[in-house]
C-alpha cells in the first residue's frame, strides 16, 4: 500500500446518487454492489437496490449477454425505488458500457476500466471503434481509469499471480467509489476478512486493491470533487437490508411460529422463485421441512397432503409452475384446506423471459382453475412488504381453510431495501385450533364428526387432523354433502356448496384501502404489487409540480376491499399502471363498472417513476 497524502478536494453534498456497477458475470459486480449498499446503510442513508443478471448461466466472457449489473440508489431522504436511471455508471469492460450506457442519465458520470478496452473485447462487445475515443461518450462525464493495471501493480507485492490479481479489480472499483462518496474503509476491510476467511492471499489482494482504488481517487487529478450524502431521516430502530424473496421466506418462517405449526414446503426449482426454496431449506432448525418435488404438480400435491396432516403448507413457483398447479389448487379449494401458493411472476407467455418481471399472472390466479374455484389473492408492494404479506396470506389460509395465492414478481424478488425490523411480539397471532371433538350427533344421539360443518362466522370447516381419536373422516374432490362431506350428486346441494365456497372467499376479512397522496385530488392512480414504489414516487413528483394526485394501492386482490368501490368512485380519473395488458383494470371494470384506464407496460423492465409521471400527466390533460 502506498500512503499518499490526501489532496484537498471540495466535498459536495448530494441528496442522492444512483450508481450502477456493470461488468462481466465473472467480475464480481453483485458483491461490489452489495458491499457498497451495506456501508451506505450503516451510514444511515435510505437505499434501494436492483441487481440484473445475465439470462445464461455463464455467457461467454466479454459479450453483451454476459453483462452483470447492480444498481444502488442511496439518499438522504426516504425513497421507494432504486431509481429510474443511474447517474453514475461503473463499466468494467466494453460490453458493460455498451449494454448499460443507454440507461445512464444525460450528463451522468462514467467510470470506466480502460484496460479492458482492447481490440478483442471491443469486438466481442460489437464496437467497431473504441467508444472511449470516438465520441460515443460525448455528453457524459467520463473518467477513464486503468483499473486492471493499477490493481495488478498494487497486489503484486503480495505475491499474487498477475492472472489472479485481475480478480481483485472489483475491489479497486469499490475503493474508488467509496472514496467518491466518502464511505468509511473499515467495514469493507472487515467484510473482506470475513468473506475470504482462510484465504490469506485473496484477503491481501482485495485489501490492496480496495486501498489502491480509494487512494487513486484522492491522488489522481481526475475528479473535481467528492461527495457526501447525509443520513436520511428514517424512523429510528434496527434495520437490515432484504430482498423480496428472502423477506418472503422469513415471513413464511415467522408465520409458522405465529401459528405454532410446523412448516412444509413442496417446491420445484424455477427462476425467479428458487431462492425461497433455498432460503427455507436453510431453516430446518425452525422445524421447516422442504421437499424438492419431481415437478410442480407433485409440489402442490405434497403440500395438500401435508396440510391434511396439519402442517402450514406452502408451494413456491413462477408462472409456468402455476399453470401446472391448477388442478392441485382446485383440489385444495374443494377440500377446503389451508395452503399458500406463491407465484414469483416472470415474463411470459410460455418460457418467456425467465429473469424479467411481469405482473401478468393475476387473471390466472383468479381464474386458472376449472369451474368456479375461488381463491383469495394477495400481493406485496415492496421487498420488505413480502414479510408482512406472507404472514397475512397464512392468516387467511388458516382462518378460512383455503388455498391463498400470493403474487410477487421477479423485481421484488431480487431488489432490496432497508427494513426496519418489526417488534416480534407485535406480530399477529395467527394460530387456529385443530378440531378434536364431535360436532354433531346422529339419529341415535351419538356424537359424530361432520367435516364440512362450518363456522358460522368464517364459513370455515373444522380442521381435524389424522391422529385425532374418533374424528376419522374422508375428504375428496367430488362434490360433497354440506356437513357430512359424503359424496353427493344432489343438485341443490351442489348449488349450495358452490355458493358457500364463493361466499366464504367473498367474506374474507380484508382491511379497507387507504388513500395515499392527496385525498381531495380528482386524479388517482390505482396499483398493486411492485409498482408501488414507482407510483409513490410519481405522486411525489406530481405534487412537487403542483398537481394533486392520489394513490390507492391494493394488497388484497381477491376479495377486494369493501370500500374500494366507494373510494375509487370519488375520483374523476383513475389510471392503473400494471406490468401486464390491463388485468386489474379488467377486474375493477367488471366488478364496479368504473371506467378506470389501463397504463400497461410489458417489456420486462419495471415502470420508472418518469413513465408513471408522464402517464399521469397525459391522463390529467385528457380529462
Amino acid at each position: 500500500m502506498t500512503d499518499t497524502a490526501p489532496r484537498e478536494l471540495p466535498l459536495q453534498e448530494l441528496a442522492e446518487v444512483i450508481i450502477r456497477f456493470a461488468g462481466d458475470s465473472g467480475d464480481g459486480m453483485q458483491l461490489t454492489g452489495d458491499q457498497f449498499t451495506s456501508i451506505s446503510a450503516a451510514l444511515g442513508n435510505d437505499l434501494a437496490t436492483l441487481p440484473e443478471f445475465p439470462a445464461e448461466i455463464r455467457a461467454p466472457q466479454g459479450t453483451l449477454a454476459g453483462v452483470s449489473a447492480f444498481q444502488v440508489r442511496i439518499s438522504d431522504f426516504a425513497i421507494t425505488t432504486p431509481g429510474d436511471a443511474p447517474t453514475v455508471l461503473v463499466a468494467m469492460n466494453p460490453a458493460a458500457l455498451k449494454a448499460q450506457l443507454k440507461n445512464l442519465v444525460q450528463g451522468g458520470a462514467i467510470i470506466v476500466n480502460t484496460d479492458a478496452f482492447n481490440e478483442r473485447n471491443l469486438e466481442k462487445a460489437g464496437y467497431e471503434s473504441n467508444p472511449l475515443e470516438d465520441g460515443t461518450l460525448d455528453g457524459y462525464r467520463s473518467y477513464p481509469v486503468p483499473m486492471s493495471q493499477i490493481t495488478r501493480d498494487a497486489v503484486a507485492e503480495h505475491g499474487v499471480k498477475p492472472r489472479d490479481a485481475e480478480r481483485s479489480k472489483n475491489f479497486f472499483a469499490l475503493g474508488l467509489i467509496s472514496w467518491m462518496y466518502t464511505r468509511p474503509i473499515e467495514p469493507t476491510m472487515e467484510f473482506i476478512n470475513t468473506k475470504f476467511h482462510g484465504k490469506e492471499l485473496v484477503i491481501k489482494a482485495n485489501e490492496a486493491a480496495f486501498h489502491a482504488g480509494y487512494n487513486f481517487g484522492e491522488t489522481a487529478e481526475l475528479f473535481e470533487s467528492h461527495y457526501e450524502i447525509k443520513p436520511a431521516d428514517l424512523p429510528s430502530g434496527e434495520y437490515t437490508n432484504v430482498n423480496g424473496n428472502t423477506a418472503l421466506a422469513w415471513g413464511c418462517a415467522a408465520a409458522g411460529q405465529l401459528a405454532r405449526l410446523p412448516i412444509f414446503l413442496g417446491s420445484y426449482p424455477i427462476t425467479p422463485a428458487s431462492d425461497i426454496l433455498h432460503d427455507l431449506s436453510e431453516l430446518k432448525h425452525f422445524g421447516i421441512r422442504t421437499f424438492q418435488a419431481e415437478d410442480e404438480i407433485a409440489a402442490v400435491a405434497s403440500a395438500v397432503g401435508a396440510a391434511f396432516g396439519g402442517a402450514l403448507s406452502f408451494t413456491t413457483t413462477s408462472g409456468p409452475g402455476v399453470a401446472l398447479k391448477g388442478e392441485g389448487m382446485g383440489l385444495a379449494v374443494s377440500l377446503e384446506l389451508p395452503l399458500i401458493v406463491i407465484d414469483i411472476q416472470r415474463g411470459g407467455p410460455s418460457t418467456g423471459l425467465p429473469t424479467k418481471p411481469e405482473q401478468a399472472d393475476l387473471m390466472m390466479a383468479m381464474y386458472g382453475r376449472h369451474s368456479e374455484s375461488p381463491m383469495p389473492i394477495i400481493a406485496p408492494r415492496s421487498p420488505a412488504d413480502c414479510f408482512n404479506v406472507a404472514i397475512e396470506a397464512c392468516r387467511i389460509a388458516l382462518r378460512y381453510r383455503t388455498p391463498v395465492m400470493l403474487l410477487s414478481d421477479g423485481y421484488l424478488a431480487t431488489s432490496s431495501e432497508p427494513w426496519l425490523l418489526p417488534d416480534i411480539d407485535s406480530l399477529p397471532d395467527i394460530g387456529v385450533d385443530f378440531h378434536t371433538g364431535f360436532n354433531g350427533t346422529n339419529e341415535d344421539g351419538e356424537g359424530i364428526f361432520l367435516p364440512y360443518l362450518r363456522d358460522p362466522e368464517t364459513l370455515a370447516r373444522p380442521w381435524a387432523i389424522p391422529g385425532t381419536p374418533d374424528l376419522m373422516h374422508r375428504i375428496g374432490g367430488i362434490e360433497k354433502e354440506d356437513g357430512t362431506g359424503n359424496i353427493s350428486y344432489d343438485p341443490e346441494n351442489h348449488q349450495k356448496m358452490v355458493d358457500l365456497r364463493a361466499a366464504k372467499i367473498e367474506a374474507v376479512d380484508v382491511p379497507d384501502v387507504e388513500v395515499a397522496g392527496d385525498m381531495d385530488a380528482d386524479f388517482c392512480m390505482l396499483g398493486w404489487g411492485s409498482t408501488w414504489g414507482a407510483i409513490d414516487a410519481a405522486v411525489e413528483r406530481l405534487q412537487q409540480a403542483g398537481k394533486k394526485a392520489a394513490h390507492v394501492h391494493l394488497t388484497h386482490l381477491n376479495p377486494l376491499p369493501k370500500n374500494l368501490e366507494e373510494v375509487l368512485s370519488k375520483f374523476e380519473t383513475v389510471i392503473c399502471p400494471e406490468m401486464n395488458a390491463g388485468q386489474l383494470v379488467n377486474l375493477i371494470r367488471a366488478k364496479y363498472l368504473l371506467d378506470i384506464k389501463p397504463v400497461n407496460k410489458m417489456n420486462g423492465v419495471p415502470f420508472t417513476t418518469a413513465e408513471i409521471e408522464s402517464a399521469a400527466l397525459k391522463a390529467m390533460e385528457a380529462s
Binding site: 434496527e238 432448525h285 425452525f286 422445524g287 407433485a298 405434497s302 392441485g328 376419522m472 375428504i475 375428496g476
Partner: protein, 337 residues
C-alpha cells in the same frame, strides 16, 4: 404414541357409506382382505390414512373407517409423500388403479419408490380403465380392443414389478384378488416394511375386462400358473411341485424339476441387495396367461425418507438451536438508525 392400540374387529374398519363398485368387482375382495387384516395389525384407526387418486380403485378410502383422502387423478403418491413427511407417525396406504398410478401418475410413483417414502402403495391392476368405462391402460396387452383402440392397442404394456425394480423400490410384491389369505399376507408384509412398499394386486374388472387373470388365478389354474415366491425356498410350482425356476444365461427360466434336479433350482431370497434376481423373476411371465410369480420379489432395508428428513431437522436444531425469529431477521447484518 406408545399406547397399545384398541382392539378392533373388521367391522370397526367399515364406514357407513354404501360400497358402490359393480357387483362382482374384484375390488370387493381386496376391501374385505384389508378390513380383515387391520385388527391383526393392531394399529389405530385414527393413525391410519388411506390416500387415493381417481378411478374405481381410488374409491377405496371412502370405505375404510380411517382418515382418508380421495385426491386427484394420478397424484396420490405425491399427496401421500407430503403427508408422510409432515406426519411420520402415521400409517399411510396409497390406493390406485393401473391408469391412476402407471399412466398419469407413473412419475409420482417411481419417485416415491426411489425416495423410499414410508408408504404402502397398492396398485389395483385390472389392465383397464374402469371408471371411464373401458379404455386400454398402460398394463393392457398389445392388441387390446377397447373403445379407444377399436383395432387393438399399439402400446406395449408396463410390467409394474419391473418398473418398480427399475425405480429402486425397496419392497415389491404381487398378489391377486382371488386369494384373501395371500392378499392379507402381502399387505401385512408391506405394512411391516419401513419405506416405500408396492404391492401389485391383480384385480378383476368384471365389467370391462372380465377374466383377465382367470388363466392364472382361477382355483384350478393356480397350481400350474401361479409361482409362489417364498423366502429361502427353492422356487417351485405345479400340482406336485414338478416345475421350477433356474437362472440360466443371465435370465430366469422355467424348467421341469425332473430335468434339472431340485438342487439346481433358484432359492428365493427377497433380501438380496442387488435387485437383478428380483428383476429376472419379474420377467418370467409376459402376462397373466402363463406361469407368473406372486409373493414378495424384493424386501431390503434402506433408509426411509421422512426418517432422514427428521434427522436433518434434529441435527439442525442441535447445531443452531431451535429456530429463533429475532436471530433470523438479524442474520444478514443490521444497523441502527
Amino acid at each position: 404414541m406408545t399406547d397399545t392400540p384398541t382392539r378392533t374387529e373388521p367391522a370397526d374398519w367399515a364406514t357407513d357409506q354404501e360400497v358402490r363398485w359393480c357387483p362382482g368387482c374384484g375390488d370387493y375382495s381386496i376391501l374385505t382382505a384389508m378390513r380383515m387384516l387391520m385388527p391383526e395389525l393392531e394399529v389405530d384407526r385414527e393413525k391410519t390414512v388411506f390416500i387415493s387418486g381417481i378411478g374405481c380403485a381410488a374409491r377405496f378410502p371412502y370405505y375404510m373407517n380411517t382418515y382418508g383422502m380421495h385426491g386427484i387423478h394420478g397424484r396420490a403418491p405425491a399427496i401421500a409423500t407430503g403427508l408422510a413427511m409432515a406426519r411420520p407417525d402415521l400409517d399411510i396406504w396409497v390406493i390406485g388403479g393401473d391408469g391412476d398410478m402407471m399412466s398419469i401418475g407413473g412419475n409420482h410413483l417411481i419417485h416415491a419408490l426411489r425416495r423410499n417414502v414410508n408408504l404402502k402403495i397398492l396398485l389395483f391392476n385390472n389392465m383397464i380403465y374402469g371408471l371411464t368405462k373401458g379404455q386400454f391402460s398402460p398394463t393392457s396387452e398389445v392388441g387390446k380392443v377397447t373403445k379407444s383402440s377399436p383395432m387393438g392397442s399399439l402400446d406395449a404394456p408396463f410390467n409394474p414389478v419391473s418398473v418398480a425394480l427399475g425405480a429402486e423400490a425397496s419392497f415389491v410384491a404381487r398378489t391377486h384378488d382371488m386369494d384373501r389369505q395371500h392378499m392379507m399376507e402381502m399387505f401385512r408384509r408391506a405394512h411391516e416394511h419401513k419405506g416405500a412398499s408396492i404391492v401389485e394386486v391383480f384385480q378383476n374388472c368384471n365389467v370391462f375386462n372380465d377374466g383377465a387373470f382367470e388363466e392364472i388365478t382361477k382355483k384350478q389354474n393356480r397350481d400350474g400358473n401361479l409361482i409362489s415366491l417364498e423366502q429361502g425356498k427353492p422356487i417351485q410350482f405345479g400340482a406336485d411341485g414338478e416345475f421350477g425356476v433356474v437362472v440360466e444365461n443371465g435370465a430366469a427360466k422355467i424348467v421341469a424339476v425332473a430335468d434339472v434336479g431340485e438342487a439346481a433350482l433358484l432359492v428365493h431370497d427377497e433380501t438380496k441387495a442387488d435387485p437383478s434376481t428380483a428383476f429376472m423373476l419379474s420377467r418370467l411371465s409376459r402376462g397373466p396367461f402363463e406361469p407368473t410369480p406372486i409373493g414378495v420379489f424384493r424386501a431390503i432395508e434402506r433408509i426411509e425418507y421422512a426418517t432422514s428428513s427428521t434427522a436433518q431437522l434434529a441435527m439442525a436444531q442441535n447445531d443452531k438451536g431451535s429456530g429463533d425469529l429475532s436471530t433470523l431477521l438479524r442474520s444478514r447484518g443490521t444497523w441502527q438508525v
